[in-house]
Subunit: 103 residues, 7 copies
């Protein structure tokens, strides 16, 4: 899915659109891992965020995560949506457990 396509999804309030990282289908040495043995990963990339929830003065509270962040996802929750036959998840910003940085 091209990044340009996802620009068209604008999550509302404090929602963030996340794409789950797919489990590895091959071992490091290239051997295919049968689907049942693939570990369900709880990591994903933020592909779009809302402007944030409203505070009592009607202003948006910025989200804790930004587009491009690698994040830890909670084991349950989130609304599954299908965009161009790819699966995405919408979470509340406050449901995202942690950011994962690579350096």
């Amino acid at each position: 899915m091209s990044a340009s396509k996802l620009k068209n999804i604008v999550p509302l309030l404090d929602r963030v659109l996340v794409q789950r990282i797919k489990a590895q289908e091959k071992t490091a040495s290239g051997i295919l891992i049968p689907e049942k043995a693939q570990e369900a990963l709880n990591e994903g990339y933020v592909v779009a965020t809302g402007k944030g929830a409203l505070d009592k003065d009607g202003k948006h509270i910025p989200t804790q995560v930004d587009v491009g962040d690698k994040v830890l996802l909670p084991p349950y929750g989130g609304s599954s949506v299908k965009i161009n036959s790819e699966e995405f998840l919408l979470f509340r910003d406050s449901e995202i457990l942690a950011k994962v940085t690579d350096n």
Copy 2:
């Protein structure tokens, strides 16, 4: 259903009236898709909105979505209403997951 007819439905507070987009009944090449194989779509168009929920000073907080917006709907929730034998859904503004823009 003519647009003029729907002008007569005035959602209250932060409710928005949505018409779900119907699943495609034919493939791109014109072959009919049997009903069971049609994918349930979670997209719809906003056809009417309320003035918004009341804040603690009794003023209406404007809704996040407007008439004509294409939106992503949550997988459950919403009150189903029938107007002129067509099915519509009433959601709280804050339940709408995201806007979908086409450019």
Copy 3:
């Protein structure tokens, strides 16, 4: 039921008394519709309203609907009450989904 009788019911706080519109018993051409085929209507008329819920300063917040309004009712909820062997429903003002205007 005469309107004068219903003047005697004074809903408290933000409650509104609604009379559900009965399903059509005949088709446009006058043929009787068997009871099972009659569609349960989710529309009603507001016959009485309370002064509104209390805000934190003890003042009544006016209801969103008024006596005479045609309204869309939620699919569940409301307290059923019988007045002179006619069925009425008491809803919270905020539970009423939408107003229906006829022009």
Copy 4:
């Protein structure tokens, strides 16, 4: 039960003591209605009220109903109490659905 006896019950906070109106045991023409056919009435008389719930400054918010009011009761809820082997109900003031006036 004499009114003087009930003066001794002082509901606390926003509670109101209600005596349910008994269902008619005879038809207008004097024929006894068997107990099963007697309609359960959701009307009662307020026999005592508390001083009202406390607001955030510690002052009592007056109840919406007064002693002597004929009221519509919700279909469930309320604490049943027995005073001198007569049955009474204690409701929160805000649970009372409506007042019924007779003129």
Copy 5:
């Protein structure tokens, strides 16, 4: 149980210690009532009260009932405690339904 003993129980916050009034074990004429026929009474005496719940400024809100008050108890709730093999009940002040005065 001597009153002096109960002085040693100091309920915390808005809790009140209540001793349920025992059901009559004899009729007015002195005949013993079998235990099963004894009516469970929902009345009791307040034997100790806390200083009250804390308001947002950290001050105690005085309880609605005082030591010595005869009160109506809710049909459920309360924590049962045993002091010197006698049964007592701890309720939140706001759970007590009503005071019963004897004059």
Copy 6:
């Protein structure tokens, strides 16, 4: 367990660490009471307290109980923790029912 050891447990916020008083294993005259006949006691001693919950300005609200207090425990709730193979209970300060004073 030496008191010095328990100094090392620092409950967080409004939590209090309590050691339940063991049921008597002998009668006053020294006869052993079989374990099943021993009454489960709902009394304990506070062995450590947190600094208190945070108010809206971020300050700690002092707990109602202090180290050394003899207290009445609720019949359920509390987190059981094992320290040096002895059983302790962590309660929220507001869950403690009452203090028990001995004079």
Copy 7:
């Protein structure tokens, strides 16, 4: 797992990342304890903390625990996450029962 690796996990808001202390696998004298007899420990080390929950002015409230703290964990709750095939737990700061200090 090297400490440097865990620097990459940044819990959001008031979440804290904890590694549970493993149960002893040998007795003091070196005899292996069979897995079933190993006691499940409710202690852990804080390996990362978020900046804290947001107060109503949008500022972070500092967490009660810090990286390196030895803590008592609640018997249930927490989200289990796997980082480099090691098990970690994410808790809300306010769910951590107590700190354990060793001096």
